[in-house]
Amino acid sequence: MFDFSIVTSWIDNLLKGWMPSWAATTVECVLIGVGLLLAYALLALFYIYFERKVCAAFQCRLGPNRVGPWGVLQSFADMFKILIKELITLNHIDKFLFALAPYLVIIASMMSFAVLPWGKGLQIIDFNIGIFFLIAVSSIGVLGILLAGWSSNNKFTLIGALRSGAQMVSYELSIGLSVLTMVAFAGTMSVTGIVEAQKEGWFIFTGHIPALIAFVIYLIAGTAETNRGPFDLPEAESELTAGYHTEYSGIHFGFFYLAEYLNLFIVSGVASLLFFGGWMPLHISGWEGFNMVMDWIPSVVWFIGKAIVISFIIIWFKWTFPRLRIDQLLALEWKYLLPINLVNLVLMVIVIIYGLHF
């Protein structure tokens, strides 16, 4: 399997040969920044196209098919169109908080984006508390959404923001506890460590029943965390026009849209990291030929492919289930998912320490 650290260390040595070490580090930081920006923008554009195509397929339509072959350039056209739309200045808003909110939402998703394991040797931020850091920074996004709703000075946005806040903080508990279950199983919080621990088999296969339960809970909570259907009451278009971003226009609205799709990718990426081995290829012990073929597929393709498959399931949810009411939503989290999660954690600890098999 191709190790990307060969490329990065080659660039590193090349730069260190030309210039002093501090200048080389600066250039590398700029390279990382540009790479992150490109990956972020391209993935967001791909996801917008992907969601529209999948949604169209579920509704027996064709979806975007005019701009470029099979409509692949549709989201580029949309991005350009959103850039040339007027940014409306409203009268009665809190201008500072109104401008601050998109920054917080984008920063939260960009920082959690950088922690994901992209491939072998292609890990951008590698803390020993990586997954914990990811949970911590991704919760900054709630703050941005609450500020956006509050500062717009509009009843729809206020209700949307409060619903979103209640929903996201509630389901963060479930995400935290399922991550905790898998961290207990892996015995490390480092992202590289978790991927390495799945060399012999993905956690969904080796983790017995508790890993399966944790995965299902993670998937439900992750759908709620990204404010997607059936948990899309913060922007329930039939009751709240557009929820917390009603008053945003042009590219200002675009940031929320971008962050929503990127959060979908991040949630699926974390699911593939915790349960499907990150960039680890699928290995079946004993099948040497099969394992070798799997090893030829680059690690980046494995990671992004797994994330896209999980995103497809989350998009599938949206077109299958009707929207929940706020009391049903909170009851689902606090009365079902949280107790199940606590029991599941105990089960996982029993599996780990006493080696019981289910």
């Binding site: 931020i125 590698d126 209640a166 706020i326």
Partner: protein, 126 residues
């Protein structure tokens, strides 16, 4: 712990700052481009809130349902307790049975808190 940070940069804090600045740069850059190429036109009606067509009554930054506060407080309680569980989860293999017994006390307090909130009716949406 071996650090496998990209380009052999050992300083993770630096990379966190790079990611943060990238986020800021994305928003600032896009806002700047939009400011350059987007049209501007003035109309007093545009500044009004997007609500129902007739002038909005009063300020929208007002009091709201107390139920949201209740769930925020519950979240705070449980989230802080989950944070305390993380260090234990990393070491659970080495600690073994002793670890289970000592965490059981902490864990039962957490469950008791949930049961109390449930019995008090704090989990009902009113």
């Amino acid at each position: 712990m071996i650090s496998l940070d990209i380009f052999g940069i050992q300083n993770s804090a630096l990379l966190v700052i790079v990611a943060l600045l990238t986020g800021v740069a994305l928003v600032a850059l896009a806002m700047w481009i939009a400011g350059l190429i987007s049209p501007r036109s003035f109309n007093p009606q545009k500044g009004e809130a997007y609500e129902c067509g007739i002038p909005t009554r009063g300020n929208s930054m007002t009091r709201f349902s107390v139920g949201y506060y209740l769930f925020a407080i519950l979240f705070l309680m449980f989230d802080v307790e989950t944070v305390f569980l993380f260090p234990w989860a990393v070491k659970v293999r080495e600690l073994g049975t002793d670890g289970i017994i000592s965490i059981a006390v902490f864990f039962s307090i957490l469950v008791l808190g949930l049961v109390y909130a449930w019995r008090k009716g704090a989990l009902e949406w009113k």
